[in-house]
Amino acid sequence: MIEVKNVTKKYGNFTAVNNISFTVKDGEVVGLLGPNGAGKSTTMNMITGFIEQSEGTIEINGYDTIKKTKKAKKQIGYMPENVPLYPELTVKEFVTYMAELKLVARAKRKENVQEVLKETGLEEVQNKIIKNLSRGYKQRVSMAGALVGNPEVLILDEPTVGLDPKQIIEIRNLIKNLGKKHTVIVSSHILSEISQVCERVIILNKGKIVAVDTPANLEEKTKEQNILYLTVEDPEEKMASIQSKIKDIKEISMVKDNEDGTKQYKVVSEAQKDVRKTLFEILPKEGITIFELKKAEASLEDAFIKLVETTEDKKEKQETKKKKEKVNKQEKEQKNKEKEENKNKGGKK
């Protein structure tokens, strides 16, 4: 269990993480999502004890990361961003070193290292020097380093960056499996990944938590309208008049004119209203044949961009307002000054 309470991290005047709080329950896989510079890595670095927060407390399984550093760190397996490794060591040497750093008992060490190498599919390359490995393998070595010592909590900072699609699927499955035994926090800016792996998503933007919810709920919440794609054969060109016949439809527009005589239309309606049934009833009456009807899935991408943009817009508006006020004030002051000066001049004359 990870408990983050009112945590703030400041670098001089810059606030990287601003008063965030969340909890991750045992055995939960939580995704940390946000654009670059949102404070994902900073948050993870604070949880792992690599840096100290300026304010607030973080507890890992009940151990405070500042007061009980050693015990808190023992609970965690950390895979940092950019997979830092010791290139001169072999895979086995590296994982063994990580096991030693994590104070795995000597008697269990060998066995544990082999287990982890097997789990991450590194058995065959265990005697190769890390320097000579491909990016995908390096990523796995880094993962193995996090897994060794069987920590209860896993912190994975962008574990799939720079991998090819096959490797991404492999790592994703690995994370899914890990979620059965561990508490996991994964950061990423690849949203499809998060929605597949995580039970809950925390969206960060500019150091603040924008939303915490399940991927499905997030998609649902941010959906404003229903979009349908409709392919029809319409010999009498009646599609244009359909909008007036079904009042729930907000907009109909043609997407493309297929060569086989069919046309694809985009039909937009309000989020709560599903016009599919009415379409099936009314279109045949108008002599229009439906070839295909499909619903456009609102993706987590949309949700994410919307959440991030709305918070940004608010801020920007506030900022520009403040700036305008400031400018206005300054102008007024200047005018006043000029007036006074003129008065003074006048007085002297």
Partner: protein, 227 residues
């Protein structure tokens, strides 16, 4: 801590650095062996270790220490170390002892000079042993200077330059004022070569090292807050 000592020591010899350091120290050794023993037909090895401590360490210490923290910071492996349950004190001491391992290897090889000398004449091993003990202490002092330099930068070259600058300057500064004489570690290595373990010299080197080790630990701890 043992894990770090082992890894550091191994890394020195997985890269050229360990060989370069041993090589340079032995080269300096050989030059002064020729100048102080062969040329003068002397069986006295005391000045040999003195000169290696004086000249050899100025080159060896920066090479030995420049990557210690600077490289870990640059490649990010620092994150692995600092998020492990091992305390910063142990990390710093582990790295120090790992580097001393390279010095000890050199010293063991340098028994060869004693073997050569004792082949020609009967000579006591005690001054050689005290020289070596002193050499380990003075190396600790030089390495702790380098360690501090390495902990404040992520650029290995800057780290090395700071270390060389400090070790070189400390030699000359005492000519300006005797206040600076305690900054120069070679001043604590006068009696060891002649077979005497002087408490002042041991205390001098140990406290000198202690200050720099403590500063390194402080810097590393401070970085957690201001990083």
């Amino acid at each position: 801590m043992w894990a770090i000592i082992k890894k550091e020591f191994k890394s020195y010899f997985l890269s050229p650095i360990g060989y370069v350091v041993v090589g340079i120290l032995l080269l300096v050794c050989s030059i002064f062996f020729y100048l102080t023993s062969v040329q003068t037909m002397s069986v006295d090895l005391s000045s040999l270790y003195y000169y290696v401590a004086l000249y050899g360490l100025i080159i060896a210490a920066p090479i030995l220490t420049m990557r210690m923290f600077a490289e870990e910071r640059k490649t990010g492996t620092e994150q692995l170390l600092l998020t492990s349950p091992i305390s910063i004190t142990k990390i710093v001491l582990g790295k120090l002892i790992g580097a001393l391992g390279v010095i000890i290897i050199t010293l063991l090889i340098s028994f060869g000079y004693y073997a050569i000398v004792s082949f020609f004449a009967k000579t006591s091993i005690i001054p050689v042993l005290t020289s070596m003990l002193g050499f380990i202490l003075i190396s600790t002092a030089a390495i702790s200077v380098g360690m501090l330099a390495s902990s404040i930068t992520e650029n290995q070259i800057i780290s090395a330059v700071i270390t060389i600058a400090f070790l070189l300057m400390s030699l000359f500064l005492e000519n300006i004022s005797t206040i600076f004489s305690k900054l120069s570690i070679i001043n604590f290595y006068n009696k060891f070569p002649s077979g005497i373990v002087s408490l002042t010299e041991v205390a001098g080197l140990v406290s000198f090292s202690f200050v720099f080790i403590a500063l390194t630990i402080l810097v590393m701890n401070r970085r957690r807050v201001s990083h």
